[in-house]
């Protein structure tokens, strides 16, 4: 601990704390621009200058470490003049025509800082050079004329996202933010997560959808979660007049610690912006879908279900809330005793773990293990294009020396980032993992007493033959892995779909040997809950006479459309018009993700609540309510003991 005084206040902070952070902890405000609480200090803007007793010049507090006995003053005339000068320099470096800027009037940290210093104008000529606007990315644009070169975006892209797209070219007055080798953002390695936009203090980075729709002061911000995939990232949604203006990552969420992907920020709004909502219940009459009342539609549906019970199939999206999936299971499995009931993924992401959990109990760890991993092995999962935030959590640690080993059938989507890319023949994950285990034994970095490891040379050779990978590559990876202190193994559908869990058992063996955390990505937002409710069986819809399909706000995939193309009677719950709704016999309008609340179990078992953030329009009901109503029509009542039901089956993760 070190002791210092700031503006006469005695403060005690841990060693290594900066003066800025110490002041913030003590409730003392120091204006900043290039500083961001979640990024490493940069010390570029000089707005945070403070007076340090005994120092020759003013010091930037954001990079100055607090030391014993330091005496700091944050307000006096010299400081105030310095800040005004700094701001004048920044303003005149580019063309800040505030009235045209989408953040002007409260959401611009530069403008706010100037008002705070009592500035009404600046005395230096602006730089009349015009700079290019990069509008090549579909979701955001970069307006260099408003850029203050604080590099918050650059640090964000590196330190939080691990994408390393942004950099600065040239130097001095010619400095310009660039992507990769100076290409337009839309043609760069940018993955459109928008974190740079979220962290930009000015209007330079513009969220194209949110711009000019309202400033934060006119809007309300609600914390909730993204249900775009099984990561379950915390988000902050800004709404105004029952419309979503913008979505940002929630830094308070322990799951994603603020980082989100393009699905969470932008794509989850696409259906809301351009989809056609189902407004009322509909019934097919004389070949035409016509509007009906809920009563009529429920009566129609229950009659259809009653008469086709023997050959009925029911399928629910695994992106629906726990409450909905529970009601669905209660009605169709427990109530109507239908055989063919499942959720859309049919166990693809959970089968193997569920099997192994029967004998092993909980064996998978928490996503946060990735933050401290010194070696990550990914097996059969492309974390660049799916579950992107998990990919970010891995990639951002690579510059710190975390080793990345990718086992993949089609090379690697990770570009040149991994230390080792092991491209295997399809279906040979297990042999490869065996090879890694034997490799460690052969190299003497780990020992193993099992039969398989008696002759490690042979096992490595067999693995090399089966996987089509050179044995030296297997040994290199085994060496890296065997020497890791806190390794993490991340795997996905090529391993998890197998009910016998044979590959997973081998991975578990590897993990035990090196004390690795195991983490699997789980597909949709509620795949874990679907599996816990037993909604993970393969269902053949082709032979069914009638089908109940609960889509929620998701679109039907081609596979599903094919599977139900011959089904006579289709009962569909959907928020939007789509190809399945068009061919349905009864349609129930349900709410989209923003209009209904519910719980979700993410890939590492964290139970989270999604809140309702928009009032529902039209006659749509919450999906769970719609199923409750159908159950009532059929003479069943559904309890809400979903938590017990979730925990009654062994799971690979702790559900809490």
């Amino acid at each position: 601990m070190v002791h210092l005084t700031i503006d006469g206040k005695h403060i005690e902070v841990p060693e290594g704390t900066t003066v800025l952070r110490a002041a913030q902890q003590a409730g003392i405000h120091i204006p900043t621009l290039c500083d961001h609480p979640h990024l490493t200090p940069y010390g570029g803007c000089r707005l945070c200058l403070v007076d340090v007793k005994g120092a020759r010049t003013l010091q930037p507090s954001c990079t100055l470490p607090a030391t014993e006995g330091l005496e700091v003053t944050t307000v006096n005339e010299q400081i105030s003049d310095a800040r005004k000068f700094v701001l004048s320099m920044i303003f005149s470096e580019r063309n800040h025509f505030c009235p045209y800027c989408q953040v002007s009037g409260g959401d611009c940290e530069l403008q706010n800082a100037a008002y705070e210093q009592g500035m009404t104008h600046w005395m230096i000529q602006p730089n009349w050079n015009t700079y290019k606007v990069d509008a090549s990315n579909p979701y955001f644009s970069y307006e260099a004329n408003r850029c203050i070169l604080c590099r918050r975006c650059v640090r964000t892209c590196q330190e939080l996202v691990g994408n390393f797209t942004l950099g600065v070219e040239q130097r001095g007055a010619a400095s310009i933010l660039v992507a990769d080798l100076g290409v337009p953002l839309g043609e760069s390695t940018c993955v459109s997560c928008g974190m740079c936009v979220q962290n930009c203090p000015t209007g330079a980075m513009m969220d194209r959808r949110a711009a000019y729709r309202g400033l934060s002061a006119d809007a309300e911000t609600i914390k909730t979660i993204c249900t775009g995939c099984s990561v379950g990232c915390g988000i902050e949604v800004t709404i105004r007049d029952n419309n979503i203006i913008a979505i940002n990552g929630d830094y308070d969420s322990p799951v994603n610690q603020g980082v989100i992907c393009k699905i969470g920020r932008w794509q989850s709004l696409e259906a809301m912006d351009s989809g056609v909502a189902v407004k009322t219940p509909m019934i097919r009459k004389n070949g035409e879908l016509v509007s009906a009342s809920w009563e009529e539609a429920l009566a129609f549906a229950s009659k259809a279900i009653d008469t086709t019970r023997q050959s009925l199939a029911a399928l629910a999206s695994s992106s629906l809330s726990v409450e909905t999936l529970y009601a669905f299971k209660k009605l169709f499995v427990d109530g109507l005793a239908i055989q063919s009931v499942s959720a859309s993924e049919m166990g693809k992401y959970t089968n193997a773990q569920k099997s192994l959990a029967v004998t092993n109990g909980v064996f998978e760890g928490h996503l946060s293990a990735l933050n401290n991993a010194d070696c990550v092995v990914t097996i059969g999962e492309d974390l660049i294009h799916q579950h992107e935030v998990v990919g970010f959590m891995i990639k951002r640690n690579l510059p710190k020396g975390t080793a990345l080993i990718c086992v993949d059938t089609d090379g690697s989507a990770y570009g040149n980032l991994p230390n080792s890319v092991i491209k295997i023949n399809p279906g040979t994950e297990q042999q490869l993992v065996k090879g890694l285990i034997a490799g460690m034994v052969k190299l003497g970095v780990k020992s193993c007493a099992c039969d398989g490891c008696k002759n490690p040379d042979q096992v490595v050779q067999d693995a090399a033959n089966a996987t089509g990978v050179e044995s030296t590559l297997i040994l290199d990876a085994a060496y890296i892995l065997g020497n890791a202190q806190s390794p993490v193994i991340v795997y996905g559908s090529t391993v998890t779909s197998d009910v016998d869990a044979s590959t997973l058992t081998t991975i578990k063996c590897l993990s035990d040997m090196i004390s690795a955390e195991m983490i699997s990505v789980k597909g949709n937002a509620n795949s874990v809950a679907s599996a816990q409710f037993g909604l993970d069986q393969p269902v053949d819809m082709h032979t069914a006479k009638a089908a109940v399909i609960v889509l929620g706000d998701k679109q039907p995939c081609d596979e599903l459309l094919n599977a139900v193309s011959k089904v006579n009677t289709k009962i569909v719950f959907s928020a939007y018009q789509n190809a399945l709704v068009e061919t349905a016999d009864v349609v129930f309008p349900v709410n989209n993700w923003a209009e209904e609340e519910g719980h979700f179990i993410n890939m590492d078992g964290t139970v989270q609540k999604r809140s309702q953030i928009l009032a529902a329009n039209g006659q749509g009901k919450a999906s769970a309510q719609a199923i409750h109503d159908l159950a009532a029509q059929l003479g069943f009542s559904i309890d809400d003991h979903w938590m017990e039901a979730l925990q009654s089956t062994p799971a690979s993760v702790t559900i809490a």
Partner: protein
């Protein structure tokens, strides 16, 4: 240190890539070998183009944006094939006031060159350099890597003409 098992191919079968490779190998492919590596590329090829930056980025496991940032930060690195001869004119403050402003003007008028340009016949490239750290010798010109200082404007013009004509 963990072994790197991903080896990008050379951008072409030009033998000079071996020199670049050796430079990187000497520093064990550490990220801080970037400047040295770019030097090696510049020396071997006379310029650092996109394919070179891509290769270096892959080989040193560095983001392309980082390589690009460093390559553009230093005037020494050129992105385009240079002319047969390169003339760097220091435009730092000391050299500027001592007459290099007139040299820049002269190059524009006499040869139609702006900083970064090469004459259409590929004979002469003109680079504008910020303070090269030899202010004591101001005004400073660099002829194909050789520093010449303390000349009057006329002497410099003379020298440039001589030098260009001499070599043509």
């Amino acid at each position: 240190m963990i072994k790197q098992t991903l080896t990008p191919a050379f951008p072409s079968d030009d033998k000079r890539w071996r020199i670049v490779e050796t430079a990187m190998k000497r520093s064990n492919y550490q990220a801080d070998a970037l400047i040295e590596t770019l030097h090696a590329v510049q020396e071997a090829f006379g310029f650092v183009d996109e394919s070179a930056m891509q290769f270096v980025s892959a080989r040193l496991n560095l983001p392309a944006s980082k390589v690009y940032g460093v390559a553009t930060f230093y005037n020494l690195f050129q992105m385009k094939p240079a002319g047969e001869h390169t003339l760097s004119v220091c435009t730092g403050t000391a050299c500027h006031v001592k007459g290099n402003d007139q040299i820049v003007e002269f190059l524009r008028e006499e040869y139609g060159l702006n900083p970064g340009d090469t004459t259409p016949d590929g004979k002469l490239s003109f680079i504008g350099a910020r303070c090269v750290g030899a202010c004591g010798l101001a005004p400073v010109l660099i002829f194909d890597g050789k520093i010449v200082g303390k000349l009057s404007v006329d002497e410099m013009k003379q020298k440039i003409r001589e030098w260009v004509n001499d070599e043509s």
